[in-house]
Symmetry: D4
Subunit: 248 residues, 8 copies
């Protein structure tokens, strides 16, 4: 309920069109419903055409099918993340227009035309094993309406590869750095650029990597300023934050 609706309602009370009892009923749980709408409006951005997101890990195929069926009654685009191969196959059988990115483990049902931002989100990976997470970020950022530049496989062990791509990185408005192992790429990129860096540690590696802990701690203690860290392997979350920043 926005101010206009509220004003209209009160006008109806004033004019006698709406009885006080009826107004009380509609206003009784105003706080929460209204708050709810406000939150939805500001935060969830459920304006027509904004994507709905389904996190599929731990859900059955039937559950996801039901959610998609419900969402298709609306008009939003739909993004499903962490989709296992057999679930992807089942959904695509139902809705052939679904776009499946097996590396990103995402499904997209796009129904709105989308005009991308002028500015770019750069998604930079240290190695090929980080690309799954980076692709999840890319699919998310694109569906949220951002121009995306993928810069792959520029880990710090071969610094020249990174330096060669520096222009592309520096011309972005926000930079997502996806790296496993020691996660040093976030520090190096942040040191070479003046743009906000969203760092995504990945669980790529073994042994003392401890499922992404080494990259996570490394990124949090980065000696370079301007780095914000999201959860391990959380490409989706990095893209949400980057999109917010890119669209400021």
């Amino acid at each position: 309920m926005n101010e206009a609706t509220l004003r209209a309602l009160l006008e109806q009370v004033r004019s006698g069109e709406l009885a006080v009892d009826g107004a009380v009923d509609r206003l009784r749980d105003l706080p929460f419903r209204d708050l709810g709408e406000a939150v939805l409006d500001n935060h969830r951005e459920l304006r027509r055409g904004q994507p709905e997101v389904i996190y599929c890990a731990g859900k059955t195929i039937a559950q996801v099918q039901a959610i998609i069926a419900a969402l298709l009654e609306g008009e939003s685009d739909i993004l499903a993340t962490r989709v296992p191969p057999d679930m992807a196959e089942a959904i695509r059988a139902d809705y052939p227009q679904t776009r499946h990115n097996p590396l990103a483990r995402t499904l997209v049902i796009q129904r709105c035309e989308r005009i991308l931002t002028e500015t770019t989100i750069a998604i930079v990976t240290a190695g090929t094993s980080d690309q799954s997470v980076a692709e999840e970020a890319a699919e998310t950022a694109l569906l949220f309406g951002n121009r995306v530049a993928r810069i792959n496989d520029v880990g710090v062990a071969g610094l020249h590869r990174l330096l060669a791509r520096l222009d592309a990185i520096r011309s972005a408005r926000v930079i997502i750095v996806v790296a496993g192992m020691e996660g040093a790429l976030a520090s190096v990129v942040a040191g070479l650029s003046a743009r906000p860096v969203i760092a995504v540690p990945t669980s790529v590696g073994y042994g003392a990597n401890f499922s992404g802990l080494s990259a996570l701690l490394g990124m949090l203690t980065s000696c370079a300023g301007g780095v914000g860290v999201v959860n391990i392997d959380n490409g989706f979350g990095a893209a949400c934050l980057a999109s917010m920043i890119n669209q400021l």
Copy 2:
């Protein structure tokens, strides 16, 4: 070395003013020196009037005095962080114009006039014990040229305090959330706002807080999108990142 200098140098070679040997000498380590300048220019923002920052933890008073003396030969503002009380006293004896914020443990020697951004960075704390970190963030953000709104003591145990300040929080362009213990404030604020949230876990708490680990993990695994996390107690780092975003 910018393109103009390079062009001039090559003109000198063409005209015979500069021998090939001399040009080779000057170009030999061009990559690094040139890169260095570029980096300095883009990243360090050592343009006239930008602040210089001294991290004082683990440094002696004499060392910091020497660094300040050297920096005062330039024209930048100077920000010192993590300044112990006796060091602050010594520096202020040397330079009475120094501004000391004992809660933030910062010293500022401001020499440039600073015009603040139109938009605001909100700095939100969960409890009074988080204010030291929040003040470090505030001093940094201000010196970096940002308008700052402080919203203190709105931890989730008394949700009404937070909701009462929601307008102030939502009107900011970037939000820094500073919280110890379970760090839940970051999730709640991110859920109520559509702006980027920079979360700073603090080491406030005891026992299972494990020096900030509980807040750190809580913020990293936040169920709300749009949260980037910096190191425990790192108010300075949060302000660096927030300033970058606010000034996009």
Copy 3:
């Protein structure tokens, strides 16, 4: 051996009916046998009609079948937790009256009529992924004779959903909060209610969740008073404690 039995025995000694030797024999290990009975009576509450509980993780189908067969010689209700699907199927084939809750992974063979408490245990979940643990708590609380109110999917990222259900939460006598990720829901609910909160961290999440550690630490360091924490994913344990409190 209660006081009456002891008194009778001593009377027999006094009257000469029982020789001193015989009395010594009967009293020799009195401490433990007697204590044993006391404990059984007070603690295990193996009074007629109280449920027996089988924790099935790590047991074979044959083992559980044997335990159930033995328990069915008594008259108690039977609750089996952590039942894998194939085990559930086998038990239900044996005993068609078994109630299977596949989400809770519980089996119930109810043989006593149960009158529920007037007061209610609210079971509140942050997200749909926490429902498996919440259902285990609900099945347990019900079989232990408690009225239960399920309040699902009110995580703090969308605070309005929680606030809309506040009345239902506040009208409970004890509140179980089930949440993964950062576990912030426990703090927020405890801050909004004056009732005891039993917090169950779940292993829902990935990366820095570290199998439930983030929610566990978050709940232990909750900034709100009145929160007691049980083990990760331990819906059964939370319901035991909540039932004890609800039936005080």
Copy 4:
């Protein structure tokens, strides 16, 4: 704002007494202000005579003095926890009626007459080193209006000491168990009683105790049902929860 106030306001709109603009203004932030009041009333229980609590760790003497001076303008009792010796001395110099418990590190300024509950909270410790935490719990529970039974030094290494005090433990309505090292006392007490057990791990011990981690994990994984755990050394928090339960 309750329904009556809302109805009156709407009547004023209907009658023309209040302009729509004025009504919009008053309704605009209704949700939060109203919620706020409700929360204060329900949760903080700031009714006359309820204690106010000051957590003194990390606060200066001057800060605590200022808070006390402010609170004394009300009529509540005042409880200060984690009070260092010199702070205690300073406060008692200001307010000689202050009760100082040096072992508990608490200060109490009691101004209301307090009638204690009929039922008892038992506070059970494993060893003498746990008594500081137990005393904090006891002072809190008493000021919150609960009868308290202290049962000290009954650690499981000498089981007979515990068994000798079993009656006192079993006659309580709620049991707080305070134990360091392996924290086994919580399991043993919970196994011997049918009452809710609030377990407080303490940082007593060394080496593999890891500042209370061993007791914390032990209590969380207790093989006995009915145990809720609070943070390490958190005697205050345990008493809050126990008081809520005792006063149900």
Copy 5:
């Protein structure tokens, strides 16, 4: 090389049968070869009839078959631990005299008659889930020649069960306590007995058990004296140590 051989060699030198050069050659690396024998003799106890042990985890069936075939050329008994079901089946097909304990995951090929010690090793478990580890300990202790008393399912949540078996426990010369979860049984048993206790934490449990960490830390910080701890789930190691002590 034993003393007799050394003496013979020196006699040959003395008699001139063996030149000094030849003797130097044979004595040059005497230290190690000789040490080797000494160690074998003292430590490995490869005297006729002592068991050989094969740790099967991570080995293929073919590898274990080869090792057994080689060992059968000697005369020792053979103990295989951590034997998966299919490997057990294969070995038993080869050697029908093999004794398979599926709960202990052990195979025994016994070829020597064994006279058991007069004194007993008590193997005490907290719950039925600990029995697999306890059975590994029992099979090991038996094959090493010890009388064994199994005391199962006497966890501290039902203390009367433990107290009822106290005589059996106290009459042992060494006590092995096998417990998961919080591992409190080790402390309680050590507090009730004056015999050495070997504590085996098990990985039984979930969540904050962290694969046996809770029991491990609990046993290491036991408030009762006289407890030595072995690795998580290491029934074999506990029996080795207990056997050494029992046979002193």
Copy 6:
């Protein structure tokens, strides 16, 4: 209450000397008091002349003085561990006959003549920094009546030093190995001897030692059989266990 006392009491009942009521009173809490005595007798070994132990960490000088004064009313020897220097000085001023071992941080007041065991406990250290823990073990073992052999500074980095002392080690009945850093000495000694090894990890080291964690984990995962581990720096606990074994 032993059997003789019980028999006498029953005789009094039989003869009418004692009324049934009086006998009920005396027998009512027989279980626990009796258990208590039994435990004291079996476990605590508080027979005349057995040492009493005071753990002084976290106790004030006055508290320890009071405990000693009380214990001196008995006839036991007294052992105080973890005694800070100023406390030691104060106690020795009170009781000049006190023996102070500053390296072990122990005080001993010996009042009984003690005949040592024939067999020996070897206490082996890796480096000089481990000697404080080893001395605590030695003082304890001696006062408990064991012959002790100290073998210092034979860490595995200089294996020859260890091998040179092998006879002394092998001739002991039980071996205590005290080592920090990687704790490898326990494995090597256990590999060279057939006697039970009690391993004490020490917090000697820095960095990845993590306050003794590296030695603790190393000793628990020792590739050599026959090693039981006690808590970090727990020289006293190791000696308790070793003494139990040595006196079997």
Copy 7:
């Protein structure tokens, strides 16, 4: 671009053959391209005949097939590590000349003749379970052109086995020690030799091994000097470093 090329380019400018604009274009990104070449030349050692390495974990068979096909266009040897059995089979079907070491999980396609170093890298393992990692190191070291000496199964629990192989170990130029469990072998070998030791902790073990953590911490805190540690199970990395040292 090397100095000769640079000089030639400048000569062309001087002679007028190349316009300043063209020279600016070619020099503009000189830093990075040139740096890149330098790095490739110095670091990657992609000189003819040097091996290319493919880390196969997490790659599909098709991906690895594509990479191999591309690499075969060059002339380098090819080393694939962490090759699962089915991938190995597929590659060998394509290229029958492939050498598969199933224990090492490596594939080698060798096309250059390789002359091995005079000096040797010793690869020492504690137990048979460490051989998989050791074989990966051996295959790597061999393909990198080093003579290799394998010394297997000389763990410290049977010290005589190690001492018997001491000559072989001491005659190497660099020593790789591969050990799981407590990793003590690294300390012992380093104490017995004056050569650099590269220590590889393995995840062999269970329980308190915590996936290699115990060996890792043990090796890092080794009491013997001259030990450098690589990641858990990282046989390849150890061989890279050892090869660099051996070929100095």
Copy 8:
């Protein structure tokens, strides 16, 4: 016992000068004594002029004075590490020729002329706070006879500083990298050089640095080959290993 002594002994046996019995006695424990000498000779390198090292942490001034006095009876150089300021002062009062490096916390008493290696050990630090550890490495490397190149403050946040010093780094034979925070410098340097890199994580940093853990894990999981890691802050250990490699 060297070969000459052995030969002489055998000659005595042959000539009858020494009886077989006497020879057996002398040879009986030959293994260990002889091994001892060999070890000393090979490993400890106690040849005239080699330095003796004293680790002073946890030692008293008197203890260190005694050790130095004893060592001065030999002719070796003496290196003391981790020397607190007051200890340094006391030693220098005794021996004015002592060289004290307060940043490195080292003392050196040099008595032999030392000819340095032709080749160089580069010691590279990320920031000024790492210099204390680097200086310890430098003092050690110098006293062990190595030429040292110090390259300070080239952390990856300002990559140009590192690139500008690349020649100096690349011209070394071995590189020690000292870095705290995320430790990324090790990866970057290893990627830019073909020389062995010894990485020293430092405890510089706060929060998620966890006393050096972030740098330690980062260096262990480095994406660049050729990195060996030593313990946190272990400048001495890094120099030992680097010196061994440099002097191959």
